[in-house]
Amino acid sequence: MMYWRCFVGVLNREMLKFWQQRSRLLSALVRPLLWLFVFAAGFRSALGLSMIPPYETYILYEEYIVPGLAAMIILFNSMQSSLSMVYDREMGSMKVLLMSPVPRSFLLCSKLVANTLVSAIQVYLFFCFALLVDVQLPLMGYVYALPIIALLSIFLGALGLLLANSIKQLENFAGVMNFVIFPMFFLSSALYPLWKMQEASEWLYQVCVFNPFTSGIELLRFGLYEKLAAKELVIVLLVTLITFTFAVRSFRPKPAAAGFGNKSLGKNSA
């Protein structure tokens, strides 16, 4: 019961924070919608697509990028969540979480589930908007996508937790954009099929194949078309397990950096 109450408490707090930051929902949707409505429209003819699995017919570029943009939402939300953990640590409220009697791994799991819920809300809202440009996926595809969205959220959320613990100051978080989010996103199959990348550069193609985010996108793409990408599923499960293990380990107590608190001395003080 204690675990359940603790889980509900963490979930409730994250949802409260999400509700309070409604602009976060807006910006989370504006970014992929710009790609979908503007970028895709402009590049539709420039980026011709061949027929590749899971598609059984030629598709418009808008349809191709929807899974990638959904994964982008999850990626950005996970990094946003890790940013809020860095903020919590700087503000001190992380200590409150870590003082709970339940194991830290459970607390971090609860955080990841809360992150998953927020991501899923954003992704399904995005799917609704995608209907406006006639990207209508198989009905069951939306259902199959849910566990994949959850898995991707947990993977990227764990990566975010790991990053949150390695970033010592809030100001350094901008580096995450340049060194994690953008490379992960652009070196993947989110915006272009990998054969196009291979045509341009073999080594870039290899980097994209190696990128686990690519596996995540393909897993989601196949899921949305009611198909299972088994190899990608195994890869994402493995990297999730590894990332989560390291994230939990990074939250174990360790000798901290120097810092002795308040330096001011009162008149009547020792």
Partner: protein, 239 residues
């Protein structure tokens, strides 16, 4: 709960924050006096398990945090020097969040919040966001947060710093009552002399070393001084 700090040393790189600290805290009001930078917050980080102990051991009723984390955490209430409240949430939301982290049932949590806010004269602030509270009120909420799960041990790191006299007295009296009337083990870290009364067990921390520990009045007698200011002068000159 009895806390036994045994030969604890802690360093940050080449800086020694705590040097072979040994101290036993028994139920009641215990004061840890030391200037800023003496190592009080470092000791708190070790006591709460937020940092790993470099050398030595801390036992809570005979167990370390590693051995018995859940039970020890349940019994600890901590006010850190730095605020730990979420400024975007209300008083109620902050307290309910902490209560849930300690597994309190929602109905119990509501009744505890109500009781504590009454006691700390904050009941009219229930739905106020923390960012809209002044420093004194925020500190009282911190205290309510640390008391919500009815801990048997309170660790308070400079709980009254920067507060007006009324808030200071209120917090001091609430905590003192818990220590005296309910036998809660309290460690009250401070650098303020006026928070030390002659009957308090006192430990004095200077440059990471525990230079004295005894009941305050006994220390005054031992050093043949009449008040804490003089005791401080004697100890700082000797160390």
């Amino acid at each position: 709960m009895e806390i036994d700090i045994q030969g604890v040393s802690h360093t940050y790189g080449k800086v020694t924050a705590l040097d072979d600290i040994s101290l036993t805290l028994k139920p009641g009001f215990n004061i840890l006096l030391g200037p800023n930078g003496a190592g009080k917050s470092s000791l708190f980080a070790l006591l709460t398990g937020l940092q790993r102990i470099g050398h030595g051991n801390i036992l809570f009723n005979g167990s370390t945090i590693t051995q018995n984390r859940a039970s020890i955490m349940k019994s600890l209430g901590v006010v850190f020097q730095q605020s730990t409240l979420d400024i975007d949430l209300t008083v109620k939301q902050n307290l309910a969040y902490f209560a849930s982290l300690h597994g309190l049932a929602p109905e119990k949590s509501i009744s505890r919040i109500s009781d504590l806010l009454n006691e700390l004269d904050l009941s009219d602030r229930l739905n106020t966001k923390i960012r809209n509270l002044n420093g004194g009120h925020r500190r009282r909420v911190e205290l309510a947060r640390c008391l919500i799960h009815q801990p048997s041990t309170l660790l308070l790191d400079e709980p009254t710093v920067g507060l007006d006299i009324a808030s200071r007295q209120l917090i001091h009296s609430v905590v003192h009552d818990l220590a005296v009337k309910q036998g809660v083990t309290v460690l009250w870290a401070t650098h303020l002399f006026e928070e030390v009364s002659p009957t308090d067990p006192l430990a004095i921390l200077l440059n990471g070393r525990l230079v004295e520990r005894d009941v305050c009045s006994a220390l005054l007698t031992k050093h043949q001084v009449s008040d804490i200011h003089q005791l401080w002068d004697v100890l700082t000159h000797a160390n």
